[in-house]
């Protein structure tokens, strides 16, 4: 009896946790232009509307471009920082390690105001450069963390063996170290992309019409209307997230990567 009650409780709690995603799936097949439940008739009409919505399509494209740029830059900087922090002992190393993780300790909304204040006088509000910079600060801590972990697991003897056999340091890095830390690079890159792609708080402070990203576009849409188009769009986004995670799993194995 106790066992049944316990299982029932767990199922109910899971239901609560997944409820918003489940209803979004159901509503996405509704075609009325206002929010209601259950759907009157089932169709892919809302999906068709999403693909005809120019604002969604163009902001989706912008979000992808920004996400890719952020992810590439964050992985590059994360790799360089991790190499310095893991391989070398120097004055100020502790301070730099702390600084790298410090953005974790500041709420995004606080950082958002600061970034807005810095970008405004430079004329970088509502610009690609501005938003990529803004997302870089919140993603570098993640890439440093995943890449540092991969780097610490590298057997230095392999690198030394290559060195002894006459390989130049850069060749050793390119041919030995880089392939060995690849899971960390991929995981860091994917995390950075997903964070940038989903980021709404900071973006809302610094973007306007020209560079509105998908999350800010959805937010602004929801302030006015809650029709099923957003549900269809949400389902598409959820499917993309799942596809990315499965791809990472196939590529490097999620457990190894995180």
């Amino acid at each position: 009896m106790q066992r049944v009650l316990w299982s029932g409780l767990i199922v109910l709690l899971y239901l609560f946790l997944l409820a918003p995603i489940l209803v979004v799936f159901v509503v996405s097949f509704d075609t009325r232009n206002y929010l209601a439940f259950p759907p009157e008739s089932w169709s892919f009409g809302s999906y068709a509307k999403v693909f005809r919505n120019a604002a969604f399509i163009s902001s989706f494209g912008r979000s992808v471009v920004i996400g890719l740029a952020v992810s590439l830059a964050a992985v590059t900087m994360g790799t360089l920082l991790s190499l310095a922090l893991v391989r070398w002992k120097f004055r100020g190393r502790e301070a730099i390690s702390f600084l790298v993780l410090a953005p974790f300790l500041v709420p995004h909304i606080v950082l958002a105001v600061g970034i807005m204040l810095v970008l405004a006088p430079l004329g970088l509000l509502d610009s690609y450069r501005g938003i990529i910079l803004a997302h870089l600060g919140i993603t570098v801590p993640y890439t440093v963390r995943t890449i540092t972990m991969s780097l610490m697991a590298v057997d230095r003897r392999v690198e030394e063996a290559a060195m002894v056999h006459g390989a130049a340091p850069l060749t050793v890095f390119r041919r030995i170290t880089l392939p060995l830390i690849r899971p960390g690079l991929i995981a860091g890159g994917v995390i950075a992309f997903l964070i940038s792609f989903d980021e709404a708080t900071i973006s809302l402070f610094i973007v306007s019409v020209k560079t509105s990203t998908l999350p800010t576009e959805i937010y602004n849409y929801l302030e006015i209307s809650t029709d099923p188009q957003i549900a269809a769009l949400s389902v598409i986004l959820i499917l993309i997230s799942i596809a990315v995670v499965i791809a990472v799993e196939r590529l490097v194995g999620l457990r190894k990567a995180l």
Binding site: P20, V24, L35, A36, F37, M77, W88, P107, T226
Partner: protein
């Protein structure tokens, strides 16, 4: 691990230059995207002006304006109250799931864990929309109640703080579950068996063994949810329908609607102050639990 046999070296000569070159790009990025913004935020909160341009003199006027206005005291209290209710419920509702995941022998364990944290992969904006669908006047819950003729008029579940609370609890629950799951490594089934053999019933085993051992994980989960809840603004704003006033929503409207940037900066600094205080208190509490 073999890597530990090769400790980090102290750079000398040419290597110093290499280290410098490795550090410069990342540090520059952090300078521009973190250190400078935080410094400017602090500076702007001390500026007069009231608009997006500020003078060079320093003043406490913005803090005075925020701290003497009863509206902002109410906003501060609302924010803390939101943080408390959301963290209490997220931990209460997340605890059974975390405990279940920590001890299940099922071969579906991986899938079930993934399912519990899967919501983190979807943006908070999307999940807030899901709650609008669930709790709206014509949403799932109200339509069901109406169809069963249990209610004549829809119950107000959204566009108020109840809706904001419910949505935030669900949105932040995965963080609580992850934090608690990490802390549950200390649980040891052998201890529970020993207690049971000595005659303790299941409730007593839970109360005397499981709960005390899992308390650090619970505390970490509660802290994480609390700090995320007090700094949230998308969910309170959308679910509150403009009727829920917390620090996050006020910072946003001062920054983007009223365009009083010094005041927005002062409110952000106040939020940061609350945030840091809570983290310090948490570290004290954790030391107390373990020491």
């Amino acid at each position: 691990m073999s890597a530990t046999a090769y400790p980090a070296e102290c750079p000398a000569g040419r290597n110093r230059l290499i280290v410098l070159m490795l550090l410069v790009p990342g540090l520059l990025a952090l300078l521009c995207t973190f250190l400078l913004p935080m410094a400017w935020l602090a500076r702007a909160s001390l500026s007069a002006g009231g608009m997006t341009a500020f003078g060079s003199e320093l003043t406490l006027a913005n803090y005075r304006a925020a701290l003497t206005d009863p509206f902002y005291w109410q906003v501060g209290l609302n924010t803390l109250w939101l943080g408390v209710t959301v963290s209490v419920f997220a931990v209460l509702l997340g605890y059974p799931i975390a405990l279940f995941l920590a001890r299940t022998q099922s071969r579906w364990r991986g899938v079930l864990t993934a399912l519990a944290v899967a919501p983190l992969l979807t943006s908070a904006v999307v999940r807030t929309y899901g709650w609008m669908v669930l709790l709206g006047d014509r949403g799932v819950i109200n339509s069901t109640l109406a169809a069963l003729s249990l209610t004549d008029a829809p119950i107000r579940l959204s566009n108020n703080s109840l809706g904001a609370n419910i949505a935030l609890i669900e949105i932040l629950m995965p963080y609580a579950i992850l934090a608690m799951l990490a802390g549950f490594g200390r649980l040891n089934p052998a201890l529970e068996e020993a207690a049971a053999m000595l005659g303790a019933n299941r409730l007593r085993v839970f109360w005397r063994i499981i709960l005390p051992l899992s308390l650090p994980g619970v505390l970490t989960g509660a802290l994480l949810v609390f700090v995320l809840a007090i700094s949230s603004f998308v969910t309170p704003r959308l679910m509150g329908g403009g009727r829920v006033f917390v620090l996050g929503t006020e910072i946003y409207s001062e920054a983007t609607v009223t365009l009083n940037w010094p005041l927005a900066a002062a409110l952000a600094m106040i939020l940061l102050g609350i945030f840091s205080t809570v983290i310090v208190l948490y570290q004290r509490a954790l030391r107390g639990l373990e020491g």
